[in-house]
Symmetry: C2
Subunit: 463 residues, 2 copies
């Protein structure tokens, strides 16, 4: 009895969302409570929820908040995970293997020692340091609490003019959400085109489609100030050129790794301020600390460089890998190719691999092609146009990236390119891929094959 | 002038559909009429049409026949292709490099010599050798003429009972077409479940879904006779067990390579009676004869064996490769992984790679898993259930095949597996694929990844 007690290890998890709780759950699957004690700290009220789902909850497609919660605190506790909500970790002490946490209700602080530590502190939204940012009516959409606060504001606000700051995937998804709620939506965007994760020529297509949906795009706009009315509430978003009237403002500017604690503890951070790990998701140089989710940097398998990508699917994979390793198994996360897919109403936007500027930044010469095709056989009902851009390396022809803008059936086609990138295929090899064909699903040459043919021809011509 | 004339080569193409006319068009792109004369023989009335589209034309989704024609005879002729319609090649004489053709209108026969020959004679439908097969009201759906004849019958027939013989992809697509036209549809199937291109456990799901759509499935049924009425027209389909009343019968039993000419000419045929070619689509042992489309066998890259797969997307690729090689370029068709996708109303069915029995036949031991997931995040509207079966090789974990049955968004997910098969990935490698994720497009773990995780675990557990 005493022997088994002394052998029991304690795993401490910082952060109760996708990466942290996936890790905890997977570790628990592999090791029972007699072998492994699991303590998880979460400063918010919720666990294991889909932040990616918030725009659809705000927009009304998802009827209530609880549907976004994959696993409740009670469910975690039922699996012998000692989950401490509203408890914020304020210090990591790797030398003495302990963390200090504060109960946000009582203010009480205490140290908890660990044998193994998982850092899953997530990301924090970028908030420009300009006047008025904290005015009532200005909202982030990072957490369920943020989503609820925005919904409360929408319920209270009579005006119907919404301004979304930022035109990345959160920005465009929030634009859709607000359109669906009957708002007049303006998107204020720092870049020359929306979706800076695409090349500008593809971003232009998104721009045009968004305007077609009734969304006003203001590009090349730097937000200088949030203007407020006599009641202190937001009344407009000021840019260098103009004031855009706003009854509500949503910030969708993007996020940075939340690594304040890790930095203070002297853990290794990369060029984007994310934690650096090895392929087992272990923090570099620290035998008993793992990290995953939005607080880490990942290896871009195409460019060979470190990137920060905040995405639930990566966080879940990291958690799975960490939990397996913590639980005594073996798993690795080799890296990403940078796949992302999003939609604005019926417009689907997808990308994987490198953009032109990414390729240039790492010294790769490339051929770029753009083709137009359709989602189904041209004669089949509801065949919709689709534009595919493909980058292949000069001379070798190795696939470097694909971007797709279209309607139904466009987005997930990017998976073809994601797998081909992972496998290191050339455009020429891709031309003979045996992809699913039937008139309701694809033209006889899938749009990705059409792009591959053109890219391969350009690579040959360029020798 | 004379010099250039003597240098001009003649390409003869037998068959005016996808493979033949793609080859002719691509050859013409690379070589002008001064260098290359192109003569194409087609025994029917049409060129370059989508036979795969016939079920959708019959079902009414495609409003008229001409929409299925990708390129008309006039368009081919405008590109200096000497197209001879209603002209059937009756002999190939490889020794003297010539073909004999008969004008089906006048009956006149003549020889045409060639420097290069392309055989694209397609496939012929399997018609069981039983009494009544030629009765009025019994229809194949192989050609546009077949489709028109069926539509004429449907317009004339008052009864609303349709029987489809065969439950492969043509059979299920025709079942949908007839349902859409308001028929009471019974599918009579020789196998134990519909879609024998799937394993029976997945075919069972198709069976249940088809019955849910109001289609009556009669499995394990051998058609013994077509029964006719006093007027000589079809009145029922007799099987070993029962007579199924029918006002119209559609044959969707499958096809065989149409290689009568090739066989008579002594050209090499494979185990399925399809022409054998090398990777440049050149007929084995014949320097100046190429073949492609439904009349050839292809290499299955997963099993390493020859297969016959009649599919428009392969025919087009073959044509492109042949035309490039005939035109003095270089292209190859490495083989297939056996991807196919089809639908019955809103049910999507997809497969790639090997079934259990294919793997056994070539001596491969495997682990098979089946998982259930959804097309989108579970909380997102219209998330629909999807079943994925995955086969991975015992010990190595190499992906062997994937089968998917689901609703919207299920079918084209098979492309992920098609690319992974081509690349020779293992299930374990697939678990970390960076696939597109956002709630409207996928759960946080794509269904294919869920299957890969389970398959990888089973491979590990099986050591």
């Amino acid at each position: 009895m005493n022997m088994s007690r002394t052998r029991r290890e304690r795993l401490v998890v910082i952060g109760g969302d996708a990466a942290g709780m996936s890790a905890a759950s997977q570790a628990r699957r592999l090791k029972g409570p007699d072998e492994l004690e699991i303590v998880a700290f979460e400063r918010g009220h919720f666990t294991s929820y889909s932040a990616c789902g918030i725009p659809y909850w705000v927009g009304g497609a998802v009827p209530d908040r609880d549907r976004l919660i994959a696993r409740t605190p009670e469910e975690h506790r039922a699996r012998d995970i000692d989950l401490r909500l509203r408890t914020e970790v304020t210090d990591i002490d790797p030398d003495r293997q302990r963390v200090r946490a504060r109960d946000l209700e009582s203010g009480a602080e205490s140290w908890t020692s660990y044998d193994k530590l998982v850092i899953a502190t997530g990301a924090r939204p970028i908030r420009p340091d300009i006047p008025g940012m904290d005015a009532p009516g200005v909202h982030g959409v990072q957490t369920l609490d943020d989503g609820q606060a925005l919904l409360d504001t929408l319920a209270r606000t009579r005006g119907r003019r919404a301004v979304v700051v930022g035109a990345g995937y959160i920005g465009v998804e929030m634009a859709e959400a607000l359109i669906n709620r009957g708002y007049e939506v303006t998107v204020v965007n720092r870049g020359s085109e929306p979706m800076s994760t695409l090349d500008p020529d593809m971003g232009r297509l998104v721009h045009e489609a968004m305007e077609g949906l009734g969304i006003t795009m203001v590009n090349d706009a730097e937000v200088t100030k949030i203007l407020t009315g006599d009641d202190g509430r937001v009344r407009a978003v000021a840019t260098q050129d103009r004031d855009v009237p706003a009854d509500v403002v949503v910030l969708g500017i993007g996020v940075r790794p939340e690594t304040t604690l890790a930095k203070a503890a002297g853990l290794p951070l990369g060029p984007h301020d994310g934690l650096l790990t090895d392929r087992s998701m272990r923090v570099r140089g620290h035998e008993n600390i793992w990290a995953g989710g939005d607080c880490v940097e990942v290896l871009d398998l195409v460019s060979g460089q470190q990137r920060h990508i905040a995405l639930g699917t990566h966080a879940n994979k990291h958690g799975q890998v960490i939990g397996t390793n913590v639980g005594g198994g073996y798993a690795t996360f080799p890296g990403v190719v940078g796949t992302a897919v999003s939609k604005v109403c019926d417009l689907e936007i997808a990308r994987t691999g490198l953009r032109e500027k990414d390729a240039r930044r790492v010294g790769l010469r490339f051929e770029a092609v753009i083709i137009e095709s359709t989602s189904r056989a041209g004669y089949y009902p509801d065949a919709s146009p689709m534009t595919v851009k493909m980058l292949a390396e000069h001379r070798t022809g190795r696939l470097l990236g694909v971007q797709i803008v279209g309607r139904e059936g466009a987005g997930k086609r990017v998976d073809i390119a994601a797998v081909a990138l992972t496998a290191g295929m050339t455009a020429e090899q891709m031309t003979t891929l045996d992809l699913g064909y039937a008139p309701p699903f694809s033209p006889v040459w899938d749009p990705v094959l059409v792009a591959a043919r053109k890219a391969a021809a350009k690579v040959r011509g360029s020798f």
